[in-house]
């Protein structure tokens, strides 16, 4: 009851004083009994102070209750808990349920938007959605068709809705949104359809557009100050989003923004990454293709960029840079600094100073990574900050219509969007990874609005000369750039873990297991096989002083496409065909939430 009153008070307060939404939301994030944002907090740490479930008793964990979502496709993201209400979302058609935790999950309201089904096939890689957000008494849903809708948290009534993009040209959405201050910040998908990526801020009060920053194009579109916005400490200069492209390719240049967003309230900076330049055939887009593949720091109120860091200039492998930015305050080289840590698709774990954008660490977080020998860390070098590309694995240097073989990682990256967690106690990052390599053959494609614009043939297979599995769950030291421990997994780990003060880290697997491991050693403490494969993220909350762990099951997403039938290694010869595990031997479609607790 305490929490219900708290929520009611918060709703009342916020409805009259919009500017306080930020403080309200931040105080709610500080309360570990609730889970009020997909990422756990603004820093994207996915860490909970709750310790009722801990490494000594987690082995006794039991299923407390379950909930079928009624939808079959890939279930990413997680539920939220605001006070006594749990909010559960689904993939397309993007249903939202409000469940009453005081009445064993009774449905308070259900929202199901009407969307044109034509959006389904223009979503690359399944109809996933990474969840709703909360602020100011509203639940924010960013639908597949790019409708951003604000629902009354108590009733489910639509308070406003706004169209962020145009699905008929391949603009779609899979991501959650980030409420900051009096704005909600949203991204866009469609890099495989030649969409030019952007980030847009809408007013929480009425949905009116406040600012929009494109990933490439004129300075007025990408919201940079040529003198003040920096890249590795140097001003980006005039027309940086144009003069690194040939002709008008930037207009269909990709750099979409479908990942996770984080926020530093002290700096008032929003952090996110941009996706692959389009097409996947590098020969069709000479130049560095700025600002695709870039970590961005922007002022939350104006969208103006403070700094950029382009990780993979002129991408040749589809290594989208959209993975989450995890914000921590740690000592590095004897100095206490405000850090940003990012595990990129390209297989490098980056640690930067998040105020200045200075690059501090860039190291491989999977030893299989071979496309680069490493990043030039010498500030005086002409190639400072650039990865040294290995010619053998360069699809640009090998050219169109040539099959480059044995590239690690594969296009899905050493890690995709599945967000990592961080424990301030162990100062380790817990990273769900892919251990998959590829052959990649680029070729010329023509652009048609609303049609796929890919331009490469890929074959993927488990990393050779390794444990034969397609994933690892690793613990990473971001100050040293070293793996602390690594757990081999049969399939890619496509679930966002949760670290807790109970010295436990939880994560899901594609077979459908929820696993709990010791946060110091990685020792497995518990596993339970849920109804379907897990590509969702683990969350925790309390109700009536009892701690619960919740996870969405529902196989799908990229993993459900690439791994359903199993992978083969074309370089192994015929004998090995079918020698690798097929996901379809372990799990089938099904959307279900499973909630765990200790026995009474």
């Amino acid at each position: 009851m305490r929490k219900t009153k708290y929520l009611a008070a918060a709703l009342l307060l916020s409805s009259t004083v919009t500017a306080s939404a930020n403080e309200e939301l931040m105080s709610m994030m500080d309360d570990p009994n609730q889970w009020v944002i997909q990422t756990g907090d603004y820093a994207n740490q996915r860490y909970s102070e709750l310790d009722q479930i801990n490494k000594d008793n987690v082995g006794d964990l039991q299923v407390a209750w379950t909930f079928s979502t009624g939808v079959l496709r890939g279930h990413e993201g997680s539920p939220l808990v605001i006070g006594d209400v749990m909010y559960v979302h689904t993939p397309f058609p993007n249903i939202v349920y409000a469940l009453d935790l005081t009445q064993e999950g009774k449905i308070i309201w259900k929202y199901e938007p009407k969307q044109d089904p034509d959006v389904i096939p223009v979503m690359c890689c399944d109809t996933v959605n990474r969840g709703v957000a909360y602020a100011d008494g509203k639940i924010f849903l960013h639908q597949a068709d790019t409708t951003v809708v604000a629902l009354n948290a108590e009733t489910g009534a639509v308070e406003w809705s706004v169209m962020n993009g145009d699905a008929s040209v391949g603009e779609t959405n899979t991501a959650t949104v980030l409420p900051v201050g009096d704005k909600v910040i949203v991204g866009i998908s469609g890099g495989e359809f030649g969409v030019r990526g952007s980030v847009t801020a809408y007013s929480i009060a009425d949905g009116s557009q406040v600012w929009r920053a494109y990933s490439m194009g004129p300075d007025s579109d990408i919201l940079v100050d040529p003198e003040m916005t920096t890249h590795l400490g140097e001003p980006v200069g005039v027309d940086s989003g144009l003069n690194t492209w040939e002709g008008d390719q930037w207009k269909i240049g990709g750099g979409t923004t479908w990942g996770w967003y984080s926020y530093d309230p002290d700096e008032n900076l929003v952090y996110y990454g941009t996706g692959n330049p389009s097409t996947w055939n590098p020969a069709q887009r000479p130049g560095d293709n700025r600002w695709s593949m870039t970590i961005m720091a922007r002022d939350a109120d104006t969208g103006m960029a403070k700094w950029f860091y382009q990780m993979t200039p002129h991408d040749e492998w589809d290594f989208d840079g959209i993975n989450e930015m995890i914000l921590t305050d740690q000592e590095i080289d004897g100095v206490e600094r405000k850090l940003l840590t990012h595990f990129d698709r390209n297989g490098l774990g980056y640690t930067l100073d998040r105020i200045t954008g200075e690059l501090l660490v860039a190291e491989k977080f999977d030893p299989a990574v071979n496309w680069t020998t490493g990043v030039d860390m010498d500030p005086n070098s002409d190639t400072y900050g650039r990865p040294a590309v290995v010619a053998e694995y360069s699809t640009e240097q090998n050219g169109e219509d040539v099959n480059s073989t044995g590239i690690c990682p594969a296009a899905l990256g050493s890690k995709d969007q599945q967000p990592a967690a961080y424990s301030p106690e162990t100062q380790l990052f817990y990273v769900p990874t892919n251990h998959v390599c590829m052959d990649y053959e680029p070729f010329r494609v023509s652009y048609t609005a609303g049609q796929p614009y890919v331009g490469a043939t890929l074959a993927m297979y488990p990393a050779p000369d390794s444990h034969g599995g397609m994933g690892n769950f690793i613990a990473w030291d971001n100050t040293k750039g070293e793996i602390a421990w690594s757990l081999p997994e049969q399939f890619s780990v496509w679930s966002g873990p949760l670290a807790t003060a109970g010295d436990v880290v939880f994560y899901g697997t594609l077979e459908g297991y929820l696993k709990a491991v010791d946060s110091n050693t990685g020792e497995e403490l518990y596993r339970f096989k849920t109804a379907s494969g897990i590509i969702g993220n683990v969350m925790t909350y309390t109700h009536d002083d009892k701690q619960y762990i919740a996870i969405l099951s529902g196989i799908g997403g990229w993993a459900g496409i690439g791994l359903a039938a199993g992978l083969t290694n074309p370089n192994d010869g015929l004998g090995a065909v079918g020698g690798y595990a097929a996901l379809s031997d372990y799990t089938a479609l099904g959307g279900q939430m499973t909630v765990f607790a200790l026995p009474d």
């Binding site: 397309f92 096939p121 039938a565 083969t568 074309p570 996901l583």
Partner: protein, 170 residues
């Protein structure tokens, strides 16, 4: 453009009359060839593997185009995904004209259990100019004449195929 407009017209016309004639046994044997393309005795495009084990150009090209345009939903090598059907089977179960019809016009299955939408590719030259390539590749996969993975040896691309491709892409 002319090439696939013609194809489209043929497909629409034929699919009405012949929809019921899907073969129980896949007729994949090549009866004759023309300028590097192979056909069965019903004049339907098919794959060919020569005495040296080399696949015909269209099968190889179909492998490439499939993995560019179809793979992101239907999984590697026509094997299907968690939600989209295995096209290596569809290419055997559906007759050629039905297959073409679905690719050109798309199809929807929207109900309580399914949210499946095959888009219309009729306007997409990256698909339409390679429809036969993709079809024969999938048929070859369906009868396992071509294993998973990248086809090995292949016949050279004929001048006619190259000219047709250039004309179609415009």
């Amino acid at each position: 453009m002319r090439n696939y407009a013609l194809l489209l017209g043929t497909a629409a016309l034929m699919s009405i009359g012949q929809a019921a004639l899907a073969q129980d046994v896949a007729n994949t044997d090549a009866a004759y060839s023309e300028d590097g393309r192979y056909y069965n005795d019903e004049d339907i495009p098919t794959f060919n593997i020569n005495d040296e084990g080399a696949v015909d150009w269209l099968t190889y090209s179909g492998f490439r185009r499939y993995h560019s345009e179809c793979h992101v939903c239907h999984g590697p090598e026509g094997e299907g995904s968690s939600y989209a059907p295995a096209l290596k089977n569809s290419a055997l179960e559906m007759d050629y004209y039905d297959f073409v019809d679905v690719v050109v016009n798309g199809r929807q299955r929207i109900n309580a259990a399914e949210n499946s939408v095959m888009p219309s590719f009729g306007d997409n030259p990256n698909v339409m100019c390679y429809l036969d390539d993709i079809y024969v590749y999938l048929r070859a996969r369906g009868v396992e004449a071509v294993p998973r993975g990248r086809p090995g040896a292949k016949e050279a691309k004929s001048d006619v195929i190259r000219e047709d491709e250039n004309a179609c892409l415009g």
